[in-house]
Symmetry: C2
Subunit: 342 residues, 2 copies
């Protein structure tokens, strides 16, 4: 059986130097081949856009292989099964998959999991109940270990990781201090996410504001941005502070060695004299906590203790532009591309 | 009763800018006051000289208060009780105390502990069985957690901390790679301390030699020096490597912000992509492990599994010069001043 459907794909056209632009991506159309025994045909509903994808576009070794030039851009997706020759899936099933930037995908079912639509909207499988939420949960609770009354600081506080970090910290009795870029995001994190204090990193007196927001210092700094927020945070860290590091989006587009002064010796001296712990991680290290996370986070979302916000862009053709904007902080909440309607 | 004894003291004369020189220290002589009830008079036998003392000479906040200008230089000491009005001590007792750079001290017994001369030479209470040995033991085993066959790298490998780190690593089945400055130290660490490989950081091809010494990468880097050794070590770190940080002696004399490039972003990227753990510490955090350390380390020294080397300088008047030389790496083993003979 030959499917009459056209599959539109976004491939990596060129490795960006610095910030990616539209030339980094190319659209390709192609017929979908017949479905072999054991396979399923997925129509993508939502594509997740995440900062880690910038790393995949570069040739440098990272925690994962880079995407090859001309290859499909990778990414997490929510999809619907439209055709199945695999007994584990039925047409109409909604699944979480890692199908990348395309409108259709064929899979043998490996790494594809069915979603329970009764728990929460299906898009949350890419956000608050998915990889970003789990990054926040595992990094904060396993590495950050916030204690009641302690102060937890997180940047990109209205993004999918940062928003979950602050809200989980509060559930565990800690004070949540969020850092955002812009007054609209500030109001959202303060009023909707109920962080204890929110500071705008674009304020001229940002460092002073952060100090005032943390009168008892900082016990956990959840590092998901890098860049100059670090310089304001570091002097405020308390003895035995913990710094889970899950991302450095502010630096992903940087080119060449940054100018001086060299900030490493000062950082190392603080690490030494304050007995700090800095720990990089990627969420799949903590995969054994995934069921517990899903159970707890679903309940927190259901009972309103955890709020989330999605920034949904319609149409695969808008994925490159939305991705480029995200690296500049232009998204407002978890960034998703609605590739097709259910 | 007035003691006829003269007490010679070394006080901080001026806060050094950069490397300290002789002008940083001043000798003062004074009579020893009569011994009040409950007090003991100690004659200092050995004064320990340690890199952390450089930090105490500066006004900058560190993990301890700075020494005031005109105040006695602090330091660990082994002493003999020459007079006692305290029922817990008898004349002739050999004790560990924190009496500083002077020839005599009066104490009420707080923080003074009697040494068992049968275990090992009394000077070891300031080295392999004392603070430096315990720094190595606690930092390596609690933070570094070397597993059999893993590679442990340590700099200043013939110093009191580094030499213990490598030997304890080997006892736990790991490979020990030492970094030293100079061929004489290299031969000692290789032939006497039995490290698996030793590399001279003064070699023009030091980074290449270190890479060859670590064909399976580095799992634990015990950071006790800082400076440029880091740059050779960092690219060789394995995923999930651990970096206990107990000292940064190479940087203690640095003045002002170091020139670029800024090495922090590269370090943070490695921390993220390799899931590294960096943890600063000071040994007294782990005080509950002290009895276990003392029992095990005494046994290892007694059965020859742990060797140590002392660099003993005679006479308190030579303490400033010896201390200045230590910061330049001129000592060869644990640096001690023999203030008086038993």
């Amino acid at each position: 059986m030959v499917s009459p459907l056209n599959n539109r794909r976004v491939v990596l056209a060129a490795r960006p130097v610095g910030a990616p632009d539209a030339n980094g991506f190319r659209f390709e159309d192609g017929a979908i081949p017949p479905l072999a025994e054991g396979r399923i045909l997925l129509r993508i509903l939502y594509l997740s856009l995440d900062p880690y994808m910038r790393g995949r576009m570069s040739a440098a070794r990272s925690y994962a292989q880079p995407v090859e030039i001309g290859a499909l851009m990778e990414g997490g997706t929510v999809a619907i099964v439209v055709e199945s020759r695999n007994p584990d899936f039925l047409p109409g099933d909604i699944v979480l998959s890692y199908s990348g930037w395309q409108s259709y995908a064929i899979s043998d079912g490996t790494g594809v999991s069915k979603l329970d639509q009764a728990v929460a909207p299906i898009s949350t499988a890419l956000g608050v109940l998915g990889m970003p939420g789990f990054t926040a949960y595992a990094g904060l609770l396993t590495i950050g270990r916030p204690q009641p009354q302690e102060t937890v600081v997180v940047a990109a506080a209205c993004g999918p990781v940062g928003s979950a970090v602050g809200q989980i910290a509060r559930i565990h009795g800690a004070r949540a201090v969020g850092i955002v870029g812009g007054s609209e995001k500030l109001a959202f994190v303060r009023d909707e996410l109920k962080f204890d204090v929110v500071v705008d990193r674009r304020s001229p007196d940002f460092a002073d504001q952060l100090r005032q927001a943390c009168p008892h210092g900082i016990d956990v700094y959840f590092e998901n941005v890098g860049g100059m927020v670090w310089d304001a945070v570091f002097p405020l860290l308390n003895k035995f502070a913990r710094i889970p590091v899950c991302g450095l989006v502010a630096e992903y587009n940087s080119v060449g060695p940054p100018p001086g002064p060299d900030r490493l010796p000062v950082a190392m001296r603080e690490i030494l004299t304050k007995s700090l712990t800095i720990r990089g991680f990627i969420q799949h290290e903590f995969a054994d906590q995934q069921p517990e996370f899903y159970r707890k986070m679903s309940a927190w979302v259901a009972d309103g203790r955890v709020h989330y916000r999605e920034d949904v862009v319609d149409g695969l053709e808008r994925a490159p532009g939305a991705f480029i904007g995200m690296l500049e902080g232009r998204n407002f909440g978890k960034l998703l591309v609605r590739v097709s309607e259910v």
